[in-house]
């Protein structure tokens, strides 16, 4: 499937150890900043109806605000709580002050 880079946020929009929601082509993503690097996952928790961008970051883990399910921000793997389905992750790239996310054209 064709992968495309999309502008997501300005780097200055995301503080260190913070997460924001961005919507790209009707798709809701969470963009994180950890140790100066940017990461992106789906924003919707795989367990309940919640936005991970509303959650809290501890080290490299995002904790869902609804049931405290935890995912690794770098890999999307479950790290505890009631979650069992991994989170989809997306490659990111910083170009100057802009952060881009690579998603497939259809999904």
């Amino acid at each position: 499937m064709a992968m495309q880079w999309h502008y997501a946020v300005d780097a200055s929009d995301v503080d260190e150890e913070d997460v924001v929601q961005v919507v790209i082509a009707d798709r809701e993503l969470a963009v994180y900043r950890l140790g100066g690097e940017f990461y992106a996952t789906e924003d919707a928790c795989t367990h309940g109806q919640a936005s991970l961008s509303e959650g809290a970051i501890v080290d490299d883990v995002i904790e869902c605000p609804l049931h405290q399910g935890r995912f690794c921000i770098r890999t999307g793997k479950p790290r505890g709580g009631p979650v069992s389905v991994p989170l989809r992750t997306f490659p990111t790239r910083q170009d100057g002050s802009k952060v881009f996310v690579q998603i497939d054209a259809e999904n």
Partner: protein
């Protein structure tokens, strides 16, 4: 809702956003927020799924009235958490949400209260009734949506899917499975008669037929098929089936639990080669099979029969629907995503108890 009711203010906040709406004293916060056009999180709207959780921020616990303390989803709520579908307030409150705040999409009919009355109640299968409700005003909805019904002498609302295409003008048609000792079942079986008042709130639900769905593949168990009758009828009338085709696997226990076969059979006959309807019986034989030559009958659990069909029927890029009791919905989701690699976002469902 009556015009003179006292109104309170509900303020919502998330990490970065705030919003608010007015609710009548005693009104369910979920209903008030939705009719105000806020896309609050929910699935069942009945206290079973826990999706409409919020955190009470304002320190006014005495202002909060829990309308259904024994709700299935109430057992694992954290401190200060509430279910918006089962909570009413007597004073202004502030809540924290766990999803992003947004408005209902403009193409979605705004949920509202409508007064109605029973047009007819008819038994159609074992413990199963067709309930037809006339409403004072037309209630626009999308194929696949449901409404909340409230009747005299029965506390709370019950969720039932509209079982006909929204383009068909007329009463709202529902399929209701009765349960032992259920108050709504008792009303339906003994007290409901033409003219009995029914209060309706709706339409609700996100498992709707998209504008250009591609092929449809649906798995339904029991009365869960109601919303899919609406989806398939609309797809047929709109011409979607002629374009992309569809498979519907309908699971029931025995032939005594079968309903809607005439209708399904007629659709399969009208659209030969476009719609495959498979009736999966988990017990007993299908003596009626000869009466419905356009339907396929199979023996086995609905998920097993669906798995066999998935292996046979094209479903790449299809729009999937799943409906039924939670074990069927969860099992079908796992089968589709893990077994057949279907993206989770391509499966539409609303989880009911």
């Amino acid at each position: 809702m009556s015009g003179a009711a006292r109104v309170i203010r509900v303020d919502l906040k998330t990490k970065r956003d705030t919003a608010g709406f007015e609710a009548e004293v005693g009104e369910r916060l979920l209903f008030a927020g939705l009719r105000a056009g806020i896309d609050l999180p929910y699935e069942c709207a009945s206290g079973a799924c826990g999706s409409c959780q919020a955190q009470l921020v304002s320190e006014a616990p005495e202002a909060v009235c829990n309308l259904y303390p024994d709700a299935p989803a109430a057992t694992d709520l954290g401190a200060g958490r509430l279910l918006m579908c089962q909570t009413a307030c007597t004073r202004d409150v502030e809540l924290r949400l766990f999803t992003r705040l947004r408005n209902l999409p403009p193409e979605q009919p705004r949920p509202r209260y409508v007064e109605g009355d029973v047009r007819s109640v008819q038994p159609i299968a074992r413990d199963t009734y067709a309930l037809s409700v006339r409403t004072a005003e037309r209630l626009p909805y999308q194929a696949g949506q449901f409404a909340m019904l409230s009747v005299d002498g029965v506390p709370g609302y019950r969720a039932y899917s509209m079982a006909a295409s929204p383009r068909i003008d007329g009463p709202l048609e529902f399929v209701v499975k009765t349960r032992n000792a259920g108050a709504f079942s008792e009303w339906l079986g003994r007290r409901a008669q033409p003219g009995s008042p029914v209060r309706v709130f709706g339409p609700l639900g996100r498992a709707v037929l998209p504008q250009t769905p591609g092929r449809l593949f649906a798995i339904a168990a029991g009365t869960g098929i109601a919303g899919l009758l609406s989806v398939f009828e609309e797809a047929l009338l709109r011409g979607d089936l002629a374009r992309a085709g569809a498979t519907l696997v309908f699971g029931i226990r025995t032939e005594a639990d079968a309903f809607a076969l005439e209708r399904l059979s007629e659709w399969a006959r009208l659209a030969p080669g476009q719609i495959a309807v498979v009736v999966a019986l988990s017990e007993g034989q299908a003596a009626a099979a000869a009466r419905y030559p356009s339907l396929v009958f199979a023996s086995g659990l609905v998920l097993d029969v669906a798995r066999t069909r998935l292996a046979q029927d094209p479903h790449e890029g299809a729009c999937f629907f799943v409906a039924g009791p939670p074990p069927v919905v969860d099992g079908a989701l796992a089968m589709l995503t893990d077994g057949f690699g279907v993206p989770r976002n391509d499966v539409r469902f609303d989880r009911f108890q």
